[in-house]
């Protein structure tokens, strides 16, 4: 299984999303938030949560190994257990 190098995703990082989500919950908890604002925050929070959950639940564990090709490029192959020692 050879995969090309993927560009690193420029999406919001998980930590930032989770941090934002938590500050939204904090803001929602802080006293008298008007309902409309609360719902807007909920919507925003739900999007962030969805992003976090995608990372948490939908990501798969992929174990690969970097292999150097003859032309000097690199490829990623599925890592297989080849314990020798």
């Amino acid at each position: 299984m050879v995969q090309l190098v993927e560009a690193k995703e420029s999406k919001l990082s998980f930590e930032v999303a989770l941090g934002k989500l938590e500050s939204i919950v904090d803001a929602m908890e802080s006293g008298d938030v008007p309902l409309a604002e609360l719902l807007a925050k909920f919507e925003e929070g739900t999007k962030l949560l969805k992003a976090c959950e995608t990372r948490l639940k939908e990501a798969e564990l992929k174990i690969e190994q970097l292999k150097k090709q003859k032309d000097g490029k690199v490829a990623f192959e599925k890592f297989t257990t080849t314990r020798e020692d």
């Binding site: 990082s13 989770l18 938590e22 919950v25 948490l56 190994q65 970097l66 690199v74 890592f79």
Partner: protein, 432 residues
């Protein structure tokens, strides 16, 4: 043991000799036993009490924390050695045991001396550590937090080593999700540090990694040495991607450990660390989700209650409700009005009947009747007292000529004409 049971038999020594041995004989046996029974070999220790004799022979002691051993390096052997002997030097010597009968001592006849690798490496380690530390390479403020949720983790290690197996086993078992790329590199021996430096550079160039783990399983100090080489230590410190160093066992410290952002005790510990962050983040996300949902549910419930309340108030204020209220009021007033009328009429009627009763009591008719009754009774009484009734009973009323009643005899003169009134008529008479 009781004294009497001791058997004093000089004829049967431990060696099976038939008699007591001389010191020389005994010592020779010791010599034979030691020199024949202990093969030449390597001994590691620290040089102390070094004495070079004029003869060219060198005497010293080899010691470690628990024991010491006399050693001698004869002139011929001493001349061949490249290692300069000095007190405190850690060395490994090759030699054989020898018993010096004259003094009853055994010693090591040293044939070769090499510097002890551990001692040398340890010194290099300490020296490099001090130098790099002075440069600030290990400073706490340089350390970056490792990402809690790396999407892609690179592991610079031997693809055939135990470390990668342990790492993958733990990270899989604990439910971590994401991409792990094994970045194969030699982790010990010649060129290992250079390979790891190159791999670290390549990993940064690829730009896909959020976190790099560099490490290997346990081994001797020599095995782990590549992780103390300056080039690798500097590369780890300079890495653009946060680095976890995970080398050897808990007790092993390498300079990479100091240079990395985080030191994991073992490759397994690195896997635990990464997956614990994952689990903690999952927990945080769940808590945020629950809190947010509860907040919105609560707020919606309260809003809904307020809405219901407002709706019912509004309903009371609606035109229909107003009209209904009007009807109700109208009916109410109407009821009250008719009740009031009825009451008023009744009251007037009552008043009227009372008044007319009172009037009736004072009416002329009534009076007339009463008076009639009274008159009749008076009339009856009158009738009873009337002269006519006396006449009827046979009495006569005498009247003079004028018609005036004459009640007494004296009023009657001679010859006077009188009128005698009877009940049935008047007769003229004359007094005689």
């Amino acid at each position: 043991m009781p004294a009497e049971t001791i058997e004093l038999d000089f004829g049967r020594g431990e060696g099976g000799s038939a008699r007591a041995e001389s010191v020389s004989e005994f010592t020779r046996r010791v010599k034979t036993l030691l020199e024949g029974g202990i093969r030449p070999g390597w001994v590691r220790g620290e040089i102390s009490n070094l004495r070079a004799q004029a003869s060219g022979h060198v005497y010293f002691s080899l010691k470690d924390v628990g024991a010491q051993l006399s050693a001698v390096l004869f002139r011929a052997d001493a001349a061949r050695q490249t290692v300069k002997l000095r007190d405190g030097a850690q060395v490994v010597v090759y030699g054989e045991v020898s018993v010096y009968e004259a003094r009853g001592q055994y010693q090591l006849i040293v044939r070769a001396v090499i510097e002890d690798g551990v001692g040398k490496l340890q010194r290099e380690f300490e020296a490099l550590k001090a130098r790099l530390a002075a440069e600030g390479l290990f400073a706490a403020e340089r350390k970056r937090a490792i990402p809690a949720m790396p999407a892609c983790v690179g592991f610079i290690t031997s693809p055939t080593g135990a470390a990668v197996q342990d790492f993958i086993r733990i990270i899989s078992r604990r439910g971590w999700r994401g991409r792990v790329v094994v970045l194969p590199a030699k982790v010990q021996g010649e060129g290992a540090a250079a390979e790891m430096v190159a791999m670290l550079a390549q990993a940064q160039e690829l730009g896909i990694f959020d976190l790099i783990v560099i490490g290997r399983g346990g081994g001797s100090l020599e095995d782990l040495w590549a992780f103390n080489e300056e080039a690798l230590v500097r590369a780890v410190a300079a890495s653009a991607v946060p680095v976890i160093s995970a080398v050897g066992h808990e007790i092993d410290f390498t300079l990479c450990d100091f240079a990395a952002d985080v030191r994991a005790e073992t490759p397994s510990a690195a896997a635990e660390l990464i997956s614990s962050e994952f689990v903690a983040c999952a927990e945080r996300a769940t808590q945020a989700d629950e809190a947010m949902t509860a907040l919105v549910d609560g707020a919606l419930e309260r809003a809904s209650e307020r809405l219901d309340h407002a709706r019912s108030r509004l309903r009371l204020l609606s035109p229909e409700a107003q009209v209904e209220q009007g009807f109700l009021r109208l009916d109410d007033f109407s009821n009250r009005l008719s009740a009031a009328l009825r009451t008023a009429v009744q009251a007037r009627r009552q008043q009227l009947s009372e008044t007319s009763a009172a009037l009736a009591r004072v009416s002329p008719e009534f009076r007339l009747q009463t008076e009639s009754h009274r008159l009749l009774s008076v009339w009856k009484r009158l009738q009873a007292a009337s002269p006519v009734s006396v006449l009827n009973r046979g009495f006569v009323i005498m009247r003079d000529e004028a018609g005036q009643p004459v009640g007494r005899r004296a009023a009657v003169g001679a010859g006077q004409g009188l009128q005698a009134e009877f009940a049935d008529g008047v007769v003229r008479v004359r007094a005689e």
